[in-house]
């Protein structure tokens, strides 16, 4: 399993050394790992390669090796950027994701601070209640929420999405941030209190700066989750111009009987890029907070 175990096995029973021999390791670890990586990444490769293939190659596997591009073209990307409202969709998605993330971060930071730091009777129950909210799936909520959105006069407005996305972002972020606040020593705040700082000063000068890694994780999770959201955006947005990327690609680009696979895949690739770039910048936060959240 781990190094310690490997050493222990070597000490305990010399014949297990043979088990760890190169070939064995290759067959038991590297080969299956390679298969996993291949299968997990293949759809992205296929997406990328389709985006730059001319139509003639896309539909002809006999004369062209389907796994490679003989004459790459930017025609699909060009079509997407200049003949469709794709830039507008990207912009809308970006605004919605940033808006919902900001709103959720503010709400959940304050909530997590109150639950974990201001400790009052019933704070565990409030925490549990917010956590349980995460378990209410959007598929149950979207029909009544659509009527609520209409009531508020927000139908077909990206603002509706900014207000609705926190329903699944706030529980998640609060949960994550409670863990971070927990890791900050209580004594720091007590000292500041004794020195005469107000609670707001403490929050702004001591607790928040120390919770920055948590805020970053919560922020990237919120951003990616908002970027990925589909069912609310599908149900609440009507006009082509106001759609988010995932919805727009599916409802505006999929037309007729002959699918424009090149443009569709280019759209998927471009739509995935912001999240992938964002992810790669903060990948360590991402993995560690994901694993941290599970350990909690």
């Amino acid at each position: 399993m781990t190094d310690a175990v490997a050493q222990a096995s070597a000490k305990a029973a010399p014949e297990t050394m043979a088990w760890d021999s190169g070939l064995r390791r290759l067959m038991m670890i590297y080969l299956p790992l390679g298969c996993f990586v291949l299968i997990l990444l293949f759809p992205f490769y296929w997406m990328a390669i389709t985006s730059f293939k001319p139509n003639a190659e896309l539909m002809n596997y006999r004369e062209h090796n389907p796994f490679w591009i003989s004459s790459p073209t930017l025609a699909h990307v060009k079509h997407l950027l200049f003949d469709t409202a794709y830039p507008r969709w990207l912009w809308t998605t970006m605004m919605v994701a940033i808006g919902a993330t900001t709103l959720s971060l503010i709400a959940s930071t304050l909530a997590a601070y109150a639950i974990e730091r201001l400790r009052f009777r019933g704070s565990p129950y409030v925490g549990l209640g917010i956590y349980l909210a995460y378990l209410v799936p959007p598929s149950i909520l979207f029909i009544p929420l659509a009527t609520v959105v209409v009531q508020f006069g927000l139908f077909d407005s990206p603002l509706a999405l900014i207000l609705v996305y926190p329903t699944f972002l706030v529980p998640f972020c609060t949960w994550l941030l409670i863990g971070y606040f927990k890791s900050i020593p209580y004594e720091l705040e007590e000292c500041a209190l004794v020195d005469g700082a107000t609670r707001l000063q403490i929050l702004r000068r001591i607790t928040l700066p120390l919770a920055v890694p948590g805020l970053i994780s919560a922020g990237i999770f919120s951003f990616t989750l908002s970027w990925n959201e589909f069912i609310y955006a599908l149900a609440f947005i009507q006009s082509g111009a106001n759609k988010t990327v995932p919805v727009a690609i599916l409802t505006e680009l999929v037309t007729g009987d002959v699918y424009q696979w090149g443009a569709l895949m280019a759209g998927s690739l471009l739509g995935s890029l912001p999240v992938a770039i964002f992810y790669s910048l903060f990948v360590d936060y991402y993995v560690s907070s994901l694993t941290g959240a599970v350990k909690e």
């Binding site: 996993f36 909210a133 799936p137 005469g196």
Partner: protein
């Protein structure tokens, strides 16, 4: 407590602003801090949840306020073969996909728990299917499952010569059902693997050392140490996975939209088709509400089923 009162008295002398004093008053601060989160959740989650349950008992349509019709919607659903099919497929979809995700995800986690170069890079790469928007990767699968130009068909027919005709992935019910399940498993493996990897890393190596000294085989070490120690995390991750797989919407909507012949409708996609696209809000809400008993059952089953064993094993280990 005494510290608090002392400091606020000191502060009151130094800065007698009423605003500062108000923010130092703990109950006020608690209310202010909780207000945004609770407010958002109350208006956009709790209220709609209640409204949805109410709508399920009305005959509301889009643009028309409905009246209370009691259990009519549910009675209608019970006689509706499409609803039964959606229930059937939702259960099959959740069952097989969850099993697949956990079997493969656990395997991947065990593999990643070994030492090899570029480990953190590999971990980062492996999470990609989970990061990328589901609909966008679903579109890639749609293209991979294309009846004419599927790359899988090409491999099977032209490269390996295992088949003579293209596979009709999405053209008939069972192949379409399994194609969707495969895509769902593909998307779920990374999350399960990374979560379980976190669990694996909390298991103390001394347990394995002791087992090795006692002469336990690799399988016995997995069966009597790894598996029971992983139970608490398995219970949580599986509960989440079951809830979100059962209520899945995106994959099916993007790849088959419930077709061919309504065979791949999940309850969520059926609710959308009836409620939003068809305008029958009441009936759509009833379909959505009909998911709740399954969710409660699945949650209790996965969480307490696994957690109970955790207790038993935990007692034994102590």
């Amino acid at each position: 407590m005494s510290v608090t009162t002392l400091s606020s008295r000191v502060l009151a002398q130094r800065q007698p602003s009423w605003l500062v004093r108000l923010f130092d008053y703990k109950p006020f601060l608690i209310v202010i801090c909780l207000a945004p989160a609770i407010g958002l959740l109350a208006v956009f989650l709790t209220y709609p949840l209640g409204l949805g349950i109410w709508l399920a008992f009305t005959d509301t349509t889009i643009g028309q306020k409905g009246i209370f019709v009691g259990l009519d919607n549910f009675q209608y659903l019970l006689s509706d073969p499409l609803w039964w099919n959606a229930v059937f497929y939702s259960v099959v979809y959740t069952g097989i996909a969850t099993f697949g995700k956990f079997a493969l995800g656990f395997w991947l986690a065990l593999l990643l728990n070994n030492h090899f170069p570029f480990k953190s890079l590999l971990r980062a790469i492996i999470l990609l299917p989970w990061i990328v928007p589901t609909v966008l990767s679903a579109l890639a699968f749609w293209w991979i499952y294309d009846p004419q130009f599927s790359i899988i068909s090409y491999l099977l027919v032209d490269v390996l010569h295992w088949r003579t005709t293209n596979v009709d992935f999405l053209g008939s019910p069972w192949p379409a059902r399994f194609s969707l399940i495969a895509a769902n498993i593909w998307r779920g493996i990374p999350f399960v693997a990374i979560s379980l990897l976190a669990g694996l890393q909390t298991i103390s190596p001394s347990l394995y050392e002791a087992a090795m000294l006692d002469g336990a085989s690799a399988w016995q070490r997995f069966r009597y140490i790894t598996f029971p120690m992983m139970m608490p995390i398995l219970a949580i991750v599986m509960t989440f996975s079951i809830i979100f797989t059962f209520t899945d919407f995106q994959l099916v909507y993007a790849i088959t939209r419930g077709g061919p012949g309504n065979s791949t409708h999940l309850l969520a996609t059926l609710a959308f088709q009836r409620g939003i696209a068809g305008g029958e809000l009441g009936e759509g809400a009833a379909i959505a509400v009909s998911m709740i008993p399954f969710l409660v059952f699945a949650t209790l089953f996965s969480y307490f089923g696994l957690a109970r064993r955790k207790w038993q094993q935990g007692e034994a280990n102590d």
